[in-house]
C-alpha cells in the first residue's frame, strides 16, 4: 500500500477498533501489535511444555540465543515474562518456545495449559548471546529453564561450521531434562557439540552423567581449555553467579543471563532508575516517593494531584520492583502503571518515562 492511502486508513480506523474486529473474526492480524497463535503443544519433560507459535506479520525476527517478552492474559490480567527461542529461525516462520513450570508461578503454569488456537502477544526479540559466523569455541552452562537459549545456540552450530561448543546441562532429575533426545541425536551427528548432563537429585546416575552442582573440578573435566572458551551461562540467579565466580577470571569471555526476577530491597539503599523516554539513569533512595525523588534531581515528570488519584503521573513499569506507598503493596508485574507520586522503587527500575 502506498504511504498516503495507508496513512489515511491508519487515521480512519482506530487501532482498538481494528484489533477488536480482527479478533472477532478469528484473525491474529493486529494494528501495531505482534500477536501469535499457538499451533502445536508438546509435553517436553516433566513440568515443561514446548509451544509452537505462528506470529502475525508484525514479528520482526530474531537470532538464536535471544529472548522475547511474551504477554498472555490470565484471569483477565495481562502478564508479561521473558522466554527464549529454543530453535534457530525456521523457514515456515514459526517459533518454538519451551516453558518450565515454576511452583506457584502465575504465567508459566498458565502457558503450560495453553492449547492450540490460543493467542498470545509477543514483544521484540532481544539479548546479547549469539553465535557469530567464523571460528569460535564455546562453553554453554545451562541449569533448569536456562537450557532454552542454549538449545537454540546448540542447534545453530549446524549452520556455523567453524564454531564448536561444550554444553553442560543441569537438572534435578532425569525426567526434567528438556530436549534430551534431540540433544543426544544432535551430539551424535554433530561432533562439534560435546554434551554432558548433570543431575543433582537423581539417585542413580547413567554413564557420562554428572551428579553434582557446578564446581572447579567439573569444569576442569569438561573444559580443560577454559582460557580459550567463551562461556554462556543461563539459569537461576544463584547458578549464574556460581558460574560467573568460577569462570569469569579464567575464560576468554563470560556472559551470564539470570532467569529469576529481581528481588525487592528494603530501607533507603540507593537504587538505579532508568527512564526510557528521557534516556536518563538516576540514583534514588529505595522506598522514597519517586515523583519527589525525580523532582529533587531536576526532572519535571507530569503530575497533578500528587495524592494518587488523578492518574496524571502514571507511567509504565518496564522492569524492576516498585511499591505503592498508600497500601504497601509491591508492584513487580512488568507493564503495570505506577503512579509515581505515591510509588517508590524497591529495586533497580526501568520506567517508560
Amino acid at each position: 500500500m502506498s504511504p498516503a492511502p495507508n496513512r489515511l486508513l491508519r487515521a480512519a480506523v482506530a487501532a482498538p477498533v481494528f484489533d477488536f474486529w480482527s479478533r472477532q473474526f478469528g484473525s491474529i492480524q493486529a494494528w501495531d501489535r505482534c500477536l501469535a497463535r499457538v499451533v502445536a503443544r508438546r509435553e517436553e519433560a516433566r513440568g515443561a511444555v514446548t509451544l509452537t507459535l505462528q506470529p502475525n506479520r508484525r514479528f520482526a525476527g530474531f537470532t538464536p540465543g535471544q529472548h522475547l517478552n511474551l504477554t498472555a492474559e490470565v484471569e483477565g490480567v495481562r502478564l508479561t515474562r521473558s522466554y527464549s527461542f529454543t530453535q534457530p529461525p525456521r523457514t515456515d516462520g514459526r517459533l518454538r518456545l519451551t516453558i518450565k513450570r515454576v511452583e506457584n508461578g502465575r504465567l508459566s503454569n498458565a502457558l503450560c495449559e495453553l492449547r492450540p488456537g490460543a493467542v498470545v502477544e509477543l514483544g521484540e526479540a532481544y539479548g546479547e548471546m549469539s553465535l557469530p559466523q567464523g571460528p569460535g569455541r564455546y562453553l554453554f552452562l545451562a541449569a533448569g529453564s536456562g537450557i532454552t537459549p542454549l538449545m537454540a545456540l546448540s542447534l545453530a552450530l549446524e549452520q556455523n561450521p567453524q564454531a564448536e561448543a561444550t554444553l553442560v546441562y543441569w537438572a534435578q532429575r532425569r525426567d526434567e531434562l528438556c530436549f534430551a533426545e534431540e540433544l543426544r541425536e544432535l551430539a551424535a551427528r554433530q561432533p562439534r557439540l560435546r554434551l554432558h548432563f548433570a543431575l543433582t537429585r537423581e539417585p542413580l546416575r547413567l554413564a557420562g552423567e554428572f551428579g553434582r552442582r557446578i564446581d572447579t573440578a567439573l569444569l576442569d573435566e569438561v573444559a580443560p581449555d577454559l582460557p580459550a572458551l567463551q562461556v554462556f551461562a543461563c539459569g537461576p540467579r544463584g547458578f549464574v553467579e556460581d558460574a560467573r565466580r568460577l569462570t569469569q577470571e579464567r575464560a576468554l569471555r563470560f556472559h551470564g543471563e539470570a532467569f529469576t526476577p529481581p528481588e525487592a530491597v528494603a530501607g533507603g539503599a540507593p537504587v538505579r532508575v532508568q527512564l526510557l523516554r528521557s534516556g536518563q539513569t538516576l540514583e534514588v533512595p529505595a522506598g522514597a516517593p519517586l515523583l519527589a525523588a525525580l523532582e529533587a534531581q531536576g526532572l519535571r515528570p507530569a503530575s497533578g494531584c500528587r495524592m494518587g488519584l488523578c492518574n496524571t503521573c502514571a507511567c509504565r513499569l518496564v522492569e524492576g520492583v516498585g511499591q505503592n506507598l498508600n497500601n504497601g503493596e509491591t508492584v513487580a508485574e512488568p507493564g503495570s502503571e505506577l503512579r509515581i507520586c505515591i510509588s517508590a522503587a524497591r529495586s533497580d527500575l526501568t520506567l517508560d518515562l
Binding site: 480512519a12 483477565g76 490480567v77 497533578g304 494531584c305 495524592m307 488519584l309 508485574e333 502503571e337
Partner: protein, 370 residues
Amino acid sequence: MSQATLNRPLSHAEMDAFGTELDALRARTMAQVGAEDARYIRRIVAAVRYTEAAGRALLFFGAFPPAWVLGTLLLGLSKILENMELGHNVMHGQYDWMRDPHLNGKTYEWDIVGTSDNWRHTHNYKHHTYTNVRGMDDDIGYGLLRLFPEQRWRPFYLFQPLIAVIFALLFQWGVAIQRLELGKVFSGRKTKAQLREEFRPVGRKMGWQLLKDYVLFPLLAGPFFLPVLLGNLVANGMRNLWTYAVIFCGHFTADAETFPKSVVLNESRGHWYLRQLRGSSNLSGGKLLHIMTGNLSHQIEHHLYPDMPARRYAQVAPEVRAICERYGQNYNTGSMWSQFGQVVWRILRHALPSRPGKTAALVAPAAEAA
C-alpha cells in the same frame, strides 16, 4: 430542608476516622477486583462495537424511516456507552491493572471532539482534585453558567436559561474547548499565539471527528449521504444531552455545595473525602440507568474512589451510605427527574441575583480553634 441542618460539621478526629473507614472500604473492594471486572469491561467494549456497527449499517438504509430511527438510536446508544462506561472510566485508570494497552488510562482516546489529553487534565486532575472548589474546578458552570449564589452575578447571566440549552446541545464542544480557557484570552491573560499552539491538537481532533461522522460515513452510503449525516448528527446530539444531564446532576443539585479555595490548604484525607461527598449527588435507579450513566449515577462513590472500576460502585454504595449516616452526613441521592429538576431550578434561579444560604461547615468550629 436547609443545607445547614443536613450535615454535621466534623471534628478533626472524626474526620480522620471517617477517612479511615472509607479507606478500609476501598481496600476491601479493590482486593476483589479481578477477572470478573475484566470480563465486564470487555463485554462493554463488545457492546460499544456491535451497537456502533449495527447502527451505522442500519443508517445506510436510512431512506427507509424505521431503519433510520433504529440506526440512529443504536449509534447514539453506542456513543453514550463509549463515552461514559468505557471512555470516562478507562481514562480514570480504572482498568489499568489489566495492563491492556487498549484500556489504558493514559492513552485511551474517546469518540468525541474533545481530546482525551485535555480531558485528563481538566477532569481527572482539576475537577477530581478540586471538586467544587470555586476558582479551581472549572466544571462549576463551565465558565458559562452561574449555578451557585457564591458566583458573582453579572447581567450576562440573565440569558443563561437559553445558553444552558445551547450548551447542552453542543456539550461535547464545550468539553473540547474547556482547557483552552478562552476567558483568559478575552481578558488578556493568554496570548493569541499561546491559544493557537494549544488549539492545534484540539483542532486536529475536531477535524477528524467531523470528517468521520459528517463526510466519510455519509460518503460510504452513496445516495443515502443525507440520512446518514443526519443520523450521525442526531446520535451525537443524543449523547450530548444525556452526558450533560448526567454530569450536571452529579454536582449541581440543590444540596450540592461549593467551597472556597482555602479548603484545599493542607487538606487531610478525611477532609478531602468529606468535600467530595458534600459536592456530589447520586441518581437512584436500576442497573440500566447505572450502565447508561457510566455509573456516574454513583457520583458520590465515583468521587470517593475515582480509580475503582465503576461497576463496583453499586456494591460499595450501601456501605458508603451507612458510613455517612454514622457521621451525620447527608447522602445526596434521588431520581433523575428530581435531581435534574433541581439542576434546572438552579439554572433559572441563579440567572437572577441571589445570595448564599447557610451551609454547615466541613470542620466543627470548636475543633478548628483547638
